[in-house]
């Protein structure tokens, strides 16, 4: 495992270098970017080598002479390392142009410091092989990411976002630690593999604790509350990395422990599938209502986590019912969606970052017409939008198609499992339709039409490094969409290792990939033929430019355009019971009405419930304990002394 640790070391070195040279605006960024991208590249190569390694390399350390830490790089870890290092590499390159405010030198350096820690922590999370290593890496990841959210700490929302994020990561970690404690208490072993030795009833408890703990990181509804806050507050390359990769650590945990537990009950699949359906549908409904471009993308991450969980849930149902083939398709689809989502969501966040960088605003309804001033960003964002809507010939389609294929064979189940499978298929279709609504809204309002405000008129295209990252990601979207075999084939080996089976239906899988390639190439060919036909039809014709026809209305201004809010309004009204809209309208009164204002804000049911039902009661209860905190230092020392005496007494007496 030495090459892997060496890569991590190289990445972590970037942090101190950044802090050392923070006064030099060029050098202070160049060194950490080089260190992070170099280390990531090395890590990426190492990960790719271990996809099919028969003997996973292991490493063990004794930390502080007491804590054994074990690491292991098996195919599943190697697969999850690919998005970690791949996106880290591109995010680092992107950040070189994105963090271009010389006045924030120290802050930028701190950002690189915590970014490199975050990457290394994630690398350790997916390789951890005992609960101590996992817990340590997990906490390091959480804390590093909390600091990254605080980049623009002057803004109150951002401090709030980091606070909410911190509470959620720590509460989630508590559930994980409870699960680990249970494991250690029952088996007396710190190794992850010991989970298989739990009794059946405890397995379910253990899995549920893990599901909540990992689920809060993955952003499963209703544990997603932190996600839109944190992702909109962080700098865009960090949002891209967090949304594309960090939340997948939750998915990794669920997959890892599901297979370690080695269970046969259908309950696990039903829980995961149900959570997936809820997260997927509600996530995209909430996304459609957002006006902040990064919040919208954050909610759409919840939706994509839902899709991944649907795939995994179906796979678990298939495995429990003994349908190996079904399980194979669904797990491959879910894992491929992990990779695909990392690619297109990073692309979209980077595109959003470029929009914010170029215009200074993230409000969708204040933008418009950017396709003219920022054509590159526009095309990159469009590619990401087409991919995330799972439209052929882009990569999102491949993974959803795999999940569909598996789920359809699941519709031959009977009873409740059939109802769940049918619901999964229909909700995938509805999610697809709503994603189309959500992303046509984003593309149409931000990039098309006329600029709605001055901010959207005076724009500048993003820098060369940002363009490089986005170009690469957009190419991946198209290449995977056109030739899925190049990723599906190695992925099949990972799924095969997970399901502990050797008879991988590789022939079926390659035929499946060929079919997608055939369909995509055919469609592209037809499109090109029609484009040639179209240009032939226009040969020598008169083509004029004129303003848009106003249907008889002659003095149109950009303000009469349909906004994103009004575009999504009919759908949101329909889904009103689950996504209520809070409206504030001052109204008009009297013969000479004053200027009026209207404000609408989609409410997140989970957030409302958590605030009213959990946070406020706790806050009220804790208020009564305020007297303990009086500010008198002598008394604080007295507390400490009393605590020490008490703990010594307890040790002696018990």
């Amino acid at each position: 495992m030495n090459p892997f640790f060496f890569s991590l070391l190289c990445i972590v070195l970037g942090g101190p270098l950044a802090l050392l040279f923070h006064n030099n605006s060029k050098f202070g960024k160049l060194l950490p970017v080089m260190a992070i991208s170099g280390g990531s590249l090395g890590g990426l190569v190492t990960a790719l080598q271990h996809f099919t390694a028969p003997q996973p390399p292991t490493a063990e350390f004794l930390w502080l002479d007491w804590f054994p830490l074990a690491f292991r790089l098996d195919p599943l870890s190697a697969f999850f390392l690919v998005p970690v290092f791949g996106i880290a590499l591109l995010a680092a390159i992107y950040s070189f142009d994105y963090l271009d405010n010389p006045a924030k030198g120290l802050r930028t350096a701190a950002n690189y410091f915590f970014f490199s820690l975050l990457i290394a922590a994630m690398g350790l999370v997916v390789c951890a092989d005992n609960i101590l290593a996992l817990a340590l890496a997990w906490e390091l990841m959480s804390i590093a990411s909390c600091f990254l959210v605080l980049y623009d700490y002057e803004l109150k929302e951002n401090r709030q976002a980091a606070y909410i994020f911190f509470i959620f990561t720590q509460a989630g970690a508590m559930f994980l630690f409870a699960a680990f404690g249970l494991l250690y208490a029952q088996t007396g072993s710190v190794s992850l593999a010991a989970a298989a030795g739990l009794s059946d009833g405890l397995k379910l408890t253990f899995f549920l604790l893990c599901f909540i703990g990992f689920g809060s990181k993955a952003g499963i509804f209703p544990l997603h509350i932190w996600l839109p806050h944190a992702h909109s507050a962080a700098p865009s390359h960090i949002s891209a990395f967090m949304s594309g990769v960090m939340i997948k650590m939750g998915i990794y945990g669920i997959v890892r422990f599901y297979f370690l537990l080695n269970v046969e009950s259908v309950v696990y699949g039903q829980i995961v599938l149900f959570a997936g359906i809820i997260s997927g549908v509600l996530g995209i409904i909430y996304a459609a209502g957002q006006n902040h471009i990064k919040r919208m993308l954050a909610y759409s991450s919840i939706e994509n986590i839902g899709i991944i969980l649907i795939g995994m849930g179906m796979g678990m149902l298939g495995a429990a019912a003994g349908k190996k083939e079904l399980a194979f398709w669904c797990f491959t689809g879910a894992l491929l969606h992990v990779l695909n989502h990392a690619i297109f969501k990073s692309l979209l966040f980077m595109g959003a970052g470029s929009v914010i960088h170029g215009t200074g605003t993230a409000a969708i309804d204040r933008l418009g017409g950017l396709m003219k001033g920022m054509k590159f960003t526009g095309i990159a964002f469009l590619t990401g939008a087409l991919s995330i809507c799972a439209l052929p010939p882009f990569n999102g389609f491949v993974s959803e198609f795999l999940i569909y294929s598996g789920a359809f064979s699941g519709s031959s189940f009977e009873g409740w499992d059939f109802i769940l499978a049918a619901l999964a298929i229909v909700s995938l279709a509805v999610i697809g339709g709503l994603a189309l609504l959500c992303f046509t809204k984003a593309v149409g309002t931000v990039f098309l039409g006329e600029p709605r405000t001055v901010q959207a008129e005076k724009v500048h295209e993003c820098g060369r490094c940002m363009r490089l990252s986005m170009t690469l990601l957009a190419c991946f979207c198209l290449v995977i969409g056109l030739f899925p075999a190049i990723v599906v084939e190695p992925l099949a080996a990972v799924t095969g290792a997970l399901l502990k089976t050797n008879d991988i239906p590789m022939g079926d899988l390659l035929a499946f990939c060929d079919n997608i390639t055939l369909g995509a190439i055919l469609f592209l060919g037809l499109t090109i033929v029609l484009m040639i036909l179209r240009s032939w039809l226009y040969r020598g014709k008169q083509v004029d430019a004129a303003p848009t026809w106003g249907c008889g209305f002659t003095r149109a201004t950009p303000r009469i355009q349909y906004t994103g809010t009004s575009f999504a309004a009919p759908a949101l009204e329909f889904f009103g019971p689950v996504a209520p809209l809070r409206e504030e309208y001052t109204g008009l009164d009297g013969p000479f009405p004053k200027p009026s204002s209207y404000q609408s804000k989609p409410q997140d049911l989970a957030e409302e419930t958590a605030t009213i039902g959990v946070a406020l009661p706790i806050f009220r209860a804790l208020k009564r304990l305020r007297w303990i905190q009086h500010g008198n230092i002598q008394l604080y020392i007295a507390y400490i002394v009393v605590a020490i005496i008490l703990s010594i007494l307890i040790t002696f007496l018990v």
Binding site: I425, F439, G444
Partner: protein, 305 residues
């Protein structure tokens, strides 16, 4: 061979059938109506013209007509006609086709927003929303088909041991499916009661308003795409309804074409006797089709036991 001939025939009659609806509506209201070749004349007229492009628009606006025609044409390649296998087919092609139609919708909606016209925005918003519900119905129908037939491609739906056919043992369930699919056809192709293609007020349109700014050959391509899409849905339903006469492919083909004409007649009839619904009633209309499909699927749980 038969499929190739049928596809050529289909391509030729698509504009005629589109005009046939107009004719039916005219005859039912006591008017003479346009000639059946009217759409051909329209195409010739449009192809001969140039275009005016709005200064607000970008390349998306010009690219959209191509996608809007390419996707339905692809659908036609994968659709079996009159019980004969389609030109192309593979496991799961049904999903590919419905997603390609989604791609066409993506560009149609974006091109509408590209013009900066509030009316086109309205149409785009409705199109995006209503199609969510239609897709739910379509995929529910696909689940039912999988349970009956065990496949996921258009060609194998109507072939093999257990073809999807109205005149088979599962015919009663398929009656519900035919009703559901007909409602989806009306919704997806902008027909009454979801959308009125003959209305004169932009505010009340869905599909027509999204293409207000397109002109000349671009408009012709879009219109062709829209007619092909309508034909695709009609032929899909007709495949379910056509009885198979073994050994007599041409008799089957003739009945198939007659059923298609009947479906177009039904569209015209519905348009003559009902008014367009208020926009807030449209979701209920489409959800009715979903409940038909869902009910039929639930029934299979009993039948296959």
């Amino acid at each position: 061979m038969q499929t190739v001939i049928l596809i050529i025939i289909s391509l030729l009659i698509i504009p005629v059938l589109a005009a046939f609806i107009k004719k039916v509506k005219a005859l039912l209201t006591g008017k003479q109506g346009p000639p059946l070749l009217i759409k051909y004349y329209t195409l010739v007229k449009l192809f001969a013209k140039g275009s005016v492009y709005s200064t607000s628009t970008t390349f998306i606006f010009r690219f959209m007509p191509v996608v809007a025609l390419a996707a339905p044409l692809m659908a036609l390649l994968f659709l079996p006609l009159a019980g004969a296998p389609a030109l192309l087919s593979f496991a799961g092609d049904a999903i590919l086709i419905f997603y390609l139609l989604g791609l066409a919708r993506f560009f149609t909606v974006c091109a509408a927003l590209d013009t900066a016209s509030p009316f086109e925005g309205m149409g785009a918003s409705r199109e995006a929303f209503f199609s969510v519900l239609s897709e739910a119905t379509l995929f529910m129908v696909l689940v039912l088909f999988y349970r009956i037939n065990g496949s996921l491609s258009f060609s194998s739906y109507f072939q093999g041991n257990n073809p999807i056919n109205l005149w088979s043992a599962e015919g009663t369930l398929l009656l519900l499916v035919v009703a559901a699919l007909f409602m989806v056809l009306l919704a997806e192709n902008a027909r009454v009661p979801v959308d009125d293609p003959a209305t004169h007020l932009e505010l009340t349109m869905i599909h027509e308003v999204m293409i207000l700014d397109h002109s000349g050959p671009d408009l012709a391509l879009i219109e062709l795409g829209a007619w092909t899409k309508l034909y695709f849905y009609a032929a899909f339903i007709a495949n379910i309804m056509t009885p198979i006469y073994p050994g007599k492919p041409w008799a089957t083909a003739l009945v198939f074409l007659l059923i298609i004409v009947f479906i177009y007649f039904a569209v015209g009839l519905v348009e003559s006797i009902t008014a367009r619904s208020k926009m807030n009633l449209v979701p209920k209309f489409i959800l009715t089709s979903f409940s038909f499909a869902f009910f039929a699927t639930i029934l299979t749980m009993e039948l296959t036991r």
